[in-house]
């Protein structure tokens, strides 16, 4: 039993970032193809991070460094908790704290760009956290537990019971991955400081840390998606691929909108879908 746990922690710690990096590379390639370009090699995200690690460390203040590490720690811990099949709520709080440390780090620098980015990141957190909680509540109502190990024993795919909440999770996923139309605080395609937002003041190795933490986060959200079809491996894989492909497609076809629009739209749509799904669950 202990050996199994150690195995799971090992998988969470080491396989997750590799998978996250590969997903990021695939993302960039598919995006390039959608834009009728050739795109970078699959391993490009790893080259980027290795290069950043080899750069001089220029810091604004030491608090910023601490925040970068805490962000990484939050992401890593939540992925490990996911692989250990721990409690969904615990996982939720750990990732929320990690996400907040990124905001603190950006706030600690007096640069207007990183300040604006930090405010927008807060808005994004404000938009997706309630949705995530509603999804977890839905999972609880459907399976009777917040414990992932018990959710996995549920004999029917959750998707059948929670189709609307899956869409809600999709919204949270898009915001969390900072993809269009929700890429306010920072975006991979950012060409201006304002759009680079939260990460503006991070450079060199610390930017690499944030990038790696983002890979962990990708694995975390995709893990949550996989929960919706936990009964069969193929179903899980198909669901993951489908969701992520849709994600890339949306990223490429949508323009960035304002955060006000995000808050009102995501809350209204998210709440309506959640309430519909939850009341249906309650009635049946």
């Amino acid at each position: 039993m202990l050996a199994q746990y150690i195995m799971l922690v090992f998988v969470g710690l080491l396989i997750a970032p590799v998978a996250g990096g590969l997903i990021a590379g695939l993302d960039r390639r598919v995006t390039a193809r959608v834009q009728s370009r050739f795109g970078p090699p699959l391993l490009q995200p790893f080259y980027d991070v290795a290069k950043l690690l080899g750069k001089e460390s220029m810091i604004v203040n030491s608090w910023q460094v601490f925040c970068a590490y805490m962000y990484l720690l939050g992401a890593v811990l939540s992925v490990v908790l996911l692989f250990l099949q721990s409690d969904l709520l615990l996982l939720f709080f750990v990732q929320a704290i990690g996400a907040l440390f990124l905001v603190f780090g950006a706030m600690s620098a007096p640069s207007p760009y990183s300040q604006v980015g930090a405010q927008r990141e807060l808005m994004q957190i404000l938009a997706y956290e309630p949705l995530l909680i509603l999804v977890f509540v839905g999972i609880y109502l459907a399976t009777g537990s917040f414990q992932i190990s018990e959710i996995l024993t549920h004999e029917q795919p959750l998707l059948f019971k929670l189709p609307l909440l899956f869409i809600v999770l999709g919204y949270a996923l898009t915001i969390k991955l900072r993809k269009s139309p929700f890429d306010f605080s920072t975006s991979h395609h950012a060409h201006q400081e304002l759009v680079k937002g939260v990460t503006t003041e991070f450079s060199g190795p610390y930017l690499a840390i944030i990038e790696v933490a983002h890979w962990y986060e990708t694995v975390l959200v995709l893990g949550l998606v996989a929960l919706f079809w936990s009964t069969s491996l193929w179903g899980m894989l198909a669901l993951l691929l489908g969701t992520y492909f849709l994600e890339i497609l949306i990223d490429n076809t949508m323009a960035r909108l304002t955060w006000r629009w995000m808050l009102s739209y995501v809350w209204i749509v998210g709440l309506v879908l959640s309430v519909l799904n939850l009341s249906w669950l309650y009635a049946s």
């Binding site: 370009r37 290069k51 750069k55 001089e56 503006t200």
Partner: protein, 179 residues
């Protein structure tokens, strides 16, 4: 350990993030520089990303004439970039001041203010020549990081006829340029 070091060194060439600073060019060089980023040339194939932030950048592309006002800005941008970094001066104006060389407010080439690694001549240079310039600059700083002699990469000032005739490695020799 050396495997990791090698990988980092290899990655430096494979992932150049560029920041583009326009020292008041006529816009000819800027258009060519930005054309490099379009799907036609698709420099993301080589891992090149155009970032807006000197703190994330590896390569600084400078176009236009440096004058007494913007030389401070240029210097600040250069200093904000973490090591290792490379500077590519683009166009006749970036190299020497070009047609504006004799203006009262013009300092001259970019290298009067910050050290330049690669000169890309032309008025304006072709996008291919700019890509070559970036690649050459990266090879140079990767070699520097390995502690190699970089003199074989030394580029010559193109207006220096005598040196140019010696056939040194120059962007001009690897990509034809017009203008």
């Amino acid at each position: 350990m050396s495997i990791i070091k090698d990988f980092i060194n290899k990655s430096r060439i494979k992932s150049p993030w560029i920041v583009h600073f326009d020292c008041g060019s006529c816009n000819g060089c800027d258009i060519e520089t930005l054309a490099v980023l379009t799907p036609l040339y698709d420099v993301e194939r080589f891992g090149i990303i155009n970032v807006g932030n000197p703190k994330h950048a590896d390569v600084l592309l400078v176009t236009g004439t440096v004058n007494y006002r913007n030389q401070h800005v240029l210097k600040t941008i250069y200093e904000q970039m973490p090591h290792p970094k490379a500077v590519v001066a683009i166009g006749a104006c970036g190299l020497s001041g070009g047609v504006f060389r004799d203006c009262y407010n013009v300092v001259g080439g970019v290298d009067r203010v910050i050290p330049v690694d690669v000169y890309v001549p032309g008025c304006p240079p072709k996008p291919e020549a700019i890509i070559d310039g970036v690649v050459l600059g990266l090879e140079k700083f990767a070699a520097k990081a390995r502690g190699e002699d970089v003199s074989r990469f030394e580029t010559r000032r193109p207006f220096d006829k005598k040196q140019a005739d010696q056939g040194a490695v120059n962007v001009q020799t690897t990509a034809t340029q017009e203008g």
